[in-house]
Symmetry: C2
Subunit: 131 residues, 2 copies
């Protein structure tokens, strides 16, 4: 009966008592995670990674006010040009901001869509946590 016979099933059997039920439970749990597309999960993690930095969150907040070029952003966040540019390219790769070349300037703006909602949501979550 046991098709998935491994440590996990043994452990689950000790937990539940019945070996068949245990195997069933393990299969069910594995089934949920197997259904999750590994590539998609990674891509989603990348989006969160891009937002997981104070400086980049500041940049996103700034861009809520409108389009800005790198030299304006670096002044606002008070970081050297290379750092600012690097953060911007991470945000761009994650799809959170868009770039528009304009002569020697690169002007950045928020991507249309869910970025602002995301910022609002996390603010809310934080308020709930402390508040």
């Amino acid at each position: 009966m046991a098709e998935v016979s491994d440590e996990a099933v043994n452990r689950m059997t000790r937990l539940i008592g019945d070996a068949d039920k245990a195997e069933c439970k393990v299969n069910k749990l594995r089934c949920i995670t197997n259904k999750l597309d590994e590539t998609q999960i990674k891509a989603e993690a990348e989006i969160f990674k891009a937002m997981a930095d104070p400086c980049r969150l500041k940049i996103l907040s700034l861009l809520r006010e409108g389009e800005l070029c790198v030299c304006e952003i670096m002044v606002a966040v008070d970081r050297p040009q290379s750092s600012t540019s690097h953060h911007l390219s991470l945000l761009k790769d994650a799809g959170l901001i868009k770039e528009r070349k304009d002569g020697r300037w690169s002007r950045y703006r928020l991507s249309e869509g869910a970025v602002i909602e995301m910022l609002n949501l996390v603010k809310l979550m934080n308020e709930v946590k402390y508040g």
Copy 2:
């Protein structure tokens, strides 16, 4: 007139031409970021950090199905106990999940509130990004 006389203003002056206008612009930009509470921004970044890992995203997805104990989660995500436990404590510290002690078991569930919305939002963003 120049109260904030530094490199940033000089740079902005070269950009804009007028020194007073430049100072004004720098002040305005700095004002936006200064208004952002450093502590709050860091706390928000911590929340995103907690979500910025494929394994932890899997755990959160799992917990959408309901409360689970560590030994069930470690089976589902196929990681050793210590790693699983570590990820769970990060998620808990970020306020994304809640713990309930039950004998020798620790049972975890999603925090009420915006966690699910966040997961839905990032999924949407990813779909928009690729299509």
